[in-house]
Symmetry: C2
């Protein structure tokens, strides 16, 4: 069977033959979901273990442009949902993928997005087991939006979350910050920026498992996506009722990203990342966690960037190189729309 259409039309969303052909050739031929029902039927022995819990998460992806240096909307959709599972200590098992396609979207674009999803899923060890496609009229969508949901299993006894964070903990990140945000800015072209920066978009399951093996006391982790490291730390500080102090000299920033931010008046602490997490670790296990992360490509640039203090609750501050201190607030308003 060869789909003759070059672009998606409204007929591909109507529930009839055109839709069946599009789904069969572009989606299920690549993802190979189990069975022919609208629901996947699944089991994993890890779920039956006493004390094991199921982790469930979802994200819609609306990034523009759809393809950019270092990734595309499909790669982000898989990595983003995988990362939402792994930062809670879950081992990701299964993903769903739902596509809202704008009339006129080239079928070849969909094929590339789907191929990149399949590749990232394989890397992360997850299967895309169920999905959906809808088509909207031209001007009612934007190419394609992808929504992925993920199921993972949290092994018995693993308690990772913001509420576990304690004063004295060290804050680690796994590499330079802001590459994804700066890449999207540059890729949009309307800022006349040219740079060699690539998105950091990556699945972090292997990194998280390696860190946990080396530092079983890890308290919490969170991926620093929209709103950047600053917003992530503010969330955690609020939920844990602690203060967090960053060390400005320790922040890992690429010169190109610093440059983009200076030109545009942006703060790299608020730039989105798609392959970076903040990890909260007891001080005596921080070196072990860093060493384990640095042994993997996605953690090569791992460093400690700050520490947790008892008070004031919910406050994030940054020590400057000159001995001063400033408040690092949550992002107000928006820095950059449709970054993921």
């Amino acid at each position: 069977m060869v789909l003759r259409d070059k672009v998606v039309t409204l007929a591909h969303g109507g529930g009839g033959k055109a839709m069946r052909d599009l789904i069969a050739e572009v989606f299920t031929a690549v993802f190979q979901p189990p069975g022919s029902e609208d629901q996947a039927r699944l089991m994993d022995e890890a779920l039956r273990e006493p004390g094991a819990r199921l982790a469930f998460t979802t994200d819609s992806f609306v990034v523009t442009p759809l393809e950019f240096p270092g990734g595309d909307i499909g790669k982000i959709a898989v990595c983003g949902t995988v990362n939402d599972l792994v930062v809670g200590g879950a081992r990701p098992l299964w993903l769903s993928a739902a596509f809202i396609i704008e009339e006129g979207c080239p079928v070849d674009t969909l094929r590339r997005v789907v191929a990149s999803m399949a590749e990232e899923a394989a890397k992360a060890g997850v299967r895309i087991v169920t999905g959906d496609t809808k088509v909207v009229e031209r001007g009612k969508g934007d190419g394609v939006f992808v929504t992925t949901s993920g199921i993972g299993v949290i092994p018995p006894g693993r308690e990772i979350g913001a509420v576990q964070v304690r004063p004295g903990d060290v804050v680690l990140v796994n590499g330079v910050l802001g590459d994804h945000g700066a890449t999207i800015l540059a890729a949009r072209g309307d800022l006349a920026l040219s740079s060699d920066i690539q998105s950091d978009c990556a699945g972090l399951g292997h990194l998280m498992e390696a860190a946990l093996a080396a530092a079983p006391g890890i308290r919490a982790a969170r991926d620093c996506t929209r709103g950047g490291l600053a917003s992530t730390l503010n969330e955690i500080a609020g939920e844990a009722g602690v203060a967090i102090e960053l060390d400005e000299t320790a922040l890992p920033l690429r010169d190109e990203v610093r440059g983009v931010c200076e030109i545009l008046g942006l703060d790299p602490l608020y730039l989105a990342n798609e392959g970076r997490l903040a990890l909260f670790c007891p001080a005596d296990q921080a070196e072990a966690a860093l060493a384990a992360m640095r042994a993997l490509p996605e953690g090569m640039g791992a460093v400690a960037v700050g520490r947790v203090l008892a008070a004031p609750a919910g406050r994030v501050t940054m020590r400057t190189p000159f001995g001063g201190s400033r408040i690092v607030d949550m992002l107000v308003g928006e820095q950059l729309p449709r970054i993921c």
Copy 2:
């Protein structure tokens, strides 16, 4: 906390304070997901039973208009995903909900959609446990799109699916066909139709459990959404390798729906439903299944509409009142876009 914004702006998707406030007040205050992490952590004892399986499904909803007689996009999003679980014999447990909101969407519209999701979830006995919001620029979306994913548990030993269908089985439906499709057509207004038809949108979990209790031999079920009963039966006939013969005189159709179809040259067999399923049942249990369905409001109009024949595989036909027979093909192209 009172959200002062009347409409959604791009800032509500930026990952900062505006987004946090929108999510807290409009979404999580109503859905009350467990915990503060990006992933829900869940367990249900039914999942641990030997032989139990997990069912996982997803659907994006892009219906226009967002609100229509008998429902709205939120009600459809919950019922649609619940129904995808229950037609496979699963008991629905948890849903995720991801929103792609167009800049300018009134916050009050979102509140109504969310309230209607919460109401349907309560009726169906499922919890909305995790979610996401994204905002796209004006003209890159259409009000709001909702993607729901669902997890359910299939009890040990329950094998329901198209491949179980056998020659001699009876095909049942739970009520009049095409109300949803006709309602959406009329609600769009541009056809100058006025009618009192309401969408049939409904969760079918209780109906399916009642039917299974009365007729444990039920082979397969599928909800007749996009493409209508005709497309659903073609899918099942193809997957099961059987023929299906409908009896035209038995088809339950409302006079108003017949009327709309005659005026517009549509075939009601292809009109979408959001609260109707086709059930395949051994002939000797069909009366019991019908009686059980008729005892519930969503099954009051349950009738037998056809039967399964051995051959030709994949073929659906209809016996006309005059003793003739015609082929009922899968929908070709689209009858009506954005029906769900």
